[in-house]
């Protein structure tokens, strides 16, 4: 292996380790992985921040009937393509359609279902 190739390999290794060391996602990001990985796709990351810029809470949590507690909604791709849950907007009209799999299914392997943030420190001291 040439020195530069070795350097590149080490660089890639470090770049891979860095985010794990520091970051915990954006406040209120939701990870959905009760089914995803078991069914062969990456976990879903739902960014609350992006959606609350465009919609008020009650649109999803009352009109669309999405329960607030993480993991309490039985979301499946067939219900989404039938216009339920995310599918109410992600239909190619209001928002991009569900053929863009990896825009939602973009999580790292092995993530647990839950909501990110918890506390601004995000460290092990969070409640």
């Amino acid at each position: 292996m040439s020195p530069s190739a070795r350097g590149r390999r080490i660089g890639i290794l470090c770049a891979g380790l860095l985010p794990v060391a520091f970051a915990w996602g954006e406040y209120a990001d939701v990870i959905l992985n009760s089914r995803s990985e078991a069914e062969g796709v990456a976990p879903v990351i739902f960014p609350h921040w992006f959606h609350r810029i465009r919609f008020r809470c009650s649109v999803c949590h009352v009109e669309l009937g999405i329960e607030m507690r993480v993991g309490s909604n039985s979301m499946r791709m067939d219900s989404i393509t039938n216009g339920e849950y995310c599918g109410a907007c992600h239909d190619g009209q209001t928002a991009w359609s569900v053929d863009n799999c990896d825009l939602c299914h973009s999580g790292r392997p092995g993530l647990a279902t839950g909501i990110q943030g918890g506390h601004q420190t995000g460290g092990p001291g969070k409640y």
Binding site: P3, A23, V59, Q120, T121
Partner: protein
């Protein structure tokens, strides 16, 4: 530029990157190993609102991750705060920085805003809590909170900071998606003296 210089530049860049990575990793390792390090768990400003590729939960090798908007790009024009997303969402709403829809099918639907403050006298020396229905009904429907989380009757709800920290009552949203409970004075905002004078 000769190919040799180009190669040297590339190797230099990689070496710099590796050095920076190692420094950051060492700093993190030190923070983890030294229980008395300064601000052990506090995220420095430079690490807030990280772009998806480096936020630790998105897969940096996924094509989708590269297409996602970065939080900082969206938050730049919005009012700032000291916690959570570091955005003051209510102020952003009030000053027109954001104009979120109230209905999935009607962009012009207006929220049913209830302007009613609930003052909760609290134990100890903390200022009383003033709960504003106004700011909450700008985002939420009555049914989001009543009756499942809060019984809509005066004196019927027992609320404690312990239950909030465990994700009950106000903690259903505050600490997860709305501003976290570290912002004590945004709720505990009515000094006891003022309450006594009334």
């Amino acid at each position: 530029m000769t190919s040799l210089a180009k190669k040297a530049g590339f190797v230099g860049f990689i070496a710099l990157f590796v050095a920076a990575s190692m420094f950051a990793a060492m700093r993190y390792a030190e923070a983890q190993s030294n229980p008395n390090s300064f601000n052990r768990l506090l995220k420095p400003a430079s690490e807030r609102n990280a772009p998806p590729a480096t936020d630790g939960i998105h897969d940096p090798t996924s094509d989708g991750t590269a297409l996602l908007q970065t939080p900082l790009e969206a938050f730049d024009p919005l009012a700032k705060s000291n916690s959570g997303n570091y955005v003051n969402w209510n102020q952003a709403l009030d000053d027109g920085g954001i104009a979120p829809w109230y209905s999935v099918s009607n962009p012009n639907a207006a929220p049913i805003v209830l302007d009613m403050n609930i003052v909760r006298e609290v134990k100890g020396s903390m200022p009383n809590v003033v709960y504003p229905h106004k700011q909450h009904t700008e985002w939420l429907d009555c049914a989001n909170c009543h009756p499942a989380i809060f019984i809509p009757m005066k004196g019927a709800n027992q609320i404690s900071m312990a239950s909030i920290l465990l994700g009950e009552k106000c903690g259903v949203c505050h600490g997860k998606v709305a501003f976290p409970v570290s912002e004590c004075r945004r709720c505990h905002s009515q000094p006891k003296e003022a309450a006594a004078r009334q």
